[in-house]
Amino acid sequence: MTTATPTRAEREAKLEGMGCKRKRVEDIRFTQGRGNYIDDLKLPGMLFGDFVRSPYAHARVKRIDTSKALKVPGVLAVLTAEELKGVNLAWMPTLAGDVQMVLADGKVLFQNQEVAFVVAEDRYAAADGVEAVEVEYEELPVIVDPFKSMALDAPVLREDLAGKTSGTHGPRKHHNHIFEWSVGDKAGTDAAFQNAEVKIKELISYHRTHPSPLETCQCVAAFDKVKGELTVHGTFQAPHVIRTVASLLSKIPEHKVHVISPDIGGGFGNKVGAYPGYICAIVASIVTGKPVKWVEDRIENLTSTSFARDYHMTTEIAATRDGKVTGLRVYALTDHGGFDACANPSKFPAGFFSIVTGSYDFPVAHAVVDAVYTNKAPGGVAYRCSLRVTEAAYAIERGMDILAQKLNMDPAELRLKNFIRREQFPYQSALGWEYDSGDYHTALNKAMEAVGYRQLRAEQAAKRAAFKRGETREIMGVGVSFFTEIVGAGPSRNCDILGLAMFDSCEIRVHPTGAAMARMGSKSQGQGHETTYAQIIASEIGIPADDIMIEEGNTDTAPYGIGTFGSRSTPVAGAAIAMASRKIRNKAQMIAAYMLEVHEGDLEWDIDGFRVKGLPERFKGMKEIAWAAYNSPPPGMEPGLEAVSYYDPPNMTFPFGAYICVMDIDVDTGVYKVRRFYALDDCGTRINPMIIEGQVHGGLTEAFAIAMGQEIRYDEIGNVLTGSFQDFFVPTAVETPHWETDHTVTPSPHHPIGAKGVGESPNVGGVPAFSNAVNDAFSFLGSTHIQMPHDYWRNWMAAKRLGLHE
């Protein structure tokens, strides 16, 4: 039998390594209904827990009567704060250094706050039990508007903090104040503004919204009394963090806590934190000795487990008359709801808001973040963005447009004039970051050319003239956004959560037959890690991706990691994969040298094995090497072929992109039409272009939702007005625009494979692109800034305010 030797291209193709549009491994099970999500789990004897929630936003809890509930058929028990106090769990720590009530302890601070937990034989009986719990409330005055939070006569929200003039993040200046955080050169910035030829100042609000993954937050807790072990299956983006927190809170030793995150139906930041549902399910399981499932419904999800944004940013830019920026000053008033439950690294109470200088070469800047409590749900999480980065990007990208308007300059020209230039990288920003790499001019120029930017502006000018002549009632906006993200948290010298350094990890085992398995500290929620991680390994050690299994989410088997959020999987876990792979390749090289009877240094790597330099026919493939590694290793070498890497990144990564949105708005109805949306992303090295494109589509759709209507809105007494998918805008296929994607490639110089992360870029860059398009449409009518979200009604209102309906 003769077989043709495969060509190098064939060998390369067989690996399906980095850069290839490999089809997803996960899809095999998902398309057949064989996914394994939390609510699919059914353990023997499993009970079901459900919450009694507060109808009031702020009230004293006078009395809880569970007696009728306990008579409901199927109801086994009811937990209240009193019971939780017995195990010291009525309150729990948040990831942001605050504490949060697990169940209402004396009062409630937001509508739908957890008041009691009913445990029953099934979900129907639990719901019956919830109905039968009687709670007597005494209403208290409500604060919904963060701007009223620190009024002298504002009601005290957090009585537990009475007399505490200092919190985790420094001094508190008012009973409803959480922290003030500032960064930059105040004196220098003040001086820049004093000397400025041109200044703009605008309150730019990023409204409250919610990540709302299609699968809500849920868990099954199972305590084994005999073994003293706790197993928690849950929708956890960060399973190891949950294990450590569960161990610390429950006092069960960490090796006896098993946390399992199976398939997760989307996360978008919603599933990073620890919620009362998890604690109650765990306590209920310890008490009953049976597994307890807790599944949020959609209303509970939208109104209690986290929110995102609610940042109100007074943004000032100083510039010269010819459009060179000379200073940036931002004051952000931020609403964290009843408890500060952000998922920020400990030293960054406002996340990475200091990326607010964006893509521009600001000589000096100063930012202040003032955080307050209100009677709204606690948070806020990073909804498909690195921590507080989308807020920062929105402030600077709206700010630059407002400056352009004031200068009567084209917004794209203003950006090109102020970009950090390619040769300035690595670039030290005025607020303390070292941007790793970038080529902003190339990206924006490519984007402008792709959409025919000059022609669009000419068309807009003609339309504006026609509008003024009364020939049309439609206005046209061109929204330009150029964002720089900061992702991949992060270096242990400044990034930790509750003291846990933010490294990530990978363990690879190559089996004797040359197939492999890799276990990870990260956790996919739809990003396709099982597909893309295998591609990295395939390229690094020459084993076909199809022969590599990726396992995530089981804390018993996976190496410790901080999980998947803030676009950190590729920058941190992806780097750990490359480093672990390289350890394996190093060992493989020694084995190959022994097999080929040459010195290691005489070998070179070639796609899927090692060959002797200058003697191409003397070659050992990884498959053979793997067999030898176990069964005939060189004398003195330990058998086996596996490696583990814990990767502590030297820096964050800084993906960027240029987005352009073209929109038409009817001023009489407020109805908009997205004519075109072009997104150019530079995420460094591209692992799987198909998956990148999918991520960009999804992120843009979420950005579209947020900018054009999606919000968590409250009335003046703290009732949630957008608590279901009836009112909370999630676009369908009909509203969602068509997306055009493009890219440039500027690898990260400090990342082993040069990748930067992409999942969140489209949300960060997309929101300002949409908002700038709406604002650009109205700008020629004397409008400077219209607040998001830009739904039909608000567009109509904007037109009305501008006198267009008279």
Binding site: K23, R24, E26, D27, I28, F30, T31, Q32, G33, G35, Y37, D39, D40, K42, T66, L70, K71, V72, P73, G74, L76, A77, V78, V119, E121, R123, Y124, P213, L214, E215, T216, D263, I264, G265, G266, A284, V287, V295, D297, R298, I299, Q525, G526, G528, M690, E693, G694, Q695, H697, G698, T701, S724, F725, Q726, V730, T732, A733, V734, T736, W739
Partner: protein
């Protein structure tokens, strides 16, 4: 924790139920208020259809019932008495090969977290029964009762077009033979 003495006293009268699911006769004993989605997922262990919103908006629970797309979270199990239901578990061909829609969703990257996928495929299946060669606009309108938070729908549209082309091709081939 206060304990109750009501263990096992769940006394609501139950209804006997018969239906055909994925070509198989099934029966059950359910409370009249039991939702079809819970009957499918918990009693029949067909966990492919999911629950995403509880208010009939998201379509993750979509199944095919007597030739119509139905959101099984908005129907009582007893209302499906005598019906014939297809779920995602019944979509693959008898030989185990995938339905063109299942194949199309993978080939065109029409899914990410996979949570909406079973409902989306079932809806697309009915859409293609009603309109074998839909335009992009018709597809977008046709799946507008099903929400996806991950993909932005663009690749879902392509996946359905892939299946339509493949199924149309197969039909033409059969006709020619």
């Amino acid at each position: 924790m206060k304990a109750s003495e009501n263990v096992g006293e769940n006394a609501m009268a139950k209804a006997h139920l018969k239906m055909k699911v994925n070509g198989r006769e099934v029966e059950g004993l359910v409370e009249p208020r039991r939702l079809l989605i819970h009957f499918l997922r918990e009693d029949l262990a067909l966990t492919g259809a999911h629950i995403g919103c509880d208010t009939t908006h998201c379509g993750a629970c979509t199944v095919d019932l007597d030739g119509k797309s139905v959101k099984s979270c908005t129907m009582f199990a007893v209302q499906a008495e005598g019906a014939s239901i297809t779920t995602i578990e019944g979509m693959a061909n008898a030989d185990g090969s995938l339905h063109p829609l299942q194949e199309g969703f993978r080939m065109e990257h029409g899914l990410q977290c996979g949570f909406c996928t079973p409902g989306m495929i079932l809806r697309a299946h009915r859409l293609l029964q009603e309109n074998p060669n839909p335009s992009e606009e018709e597809i977008r309108f046709g799946i507008s009762g099903n929400l996806c938070r991950c993909t932005g729908y663009q690749n879902i549209v392509k996946a359905i077009q892939y299946a339509a082309a493949k199924m149309g091709g197969a039909a033409c081939k059969e006709a020619a033979e």
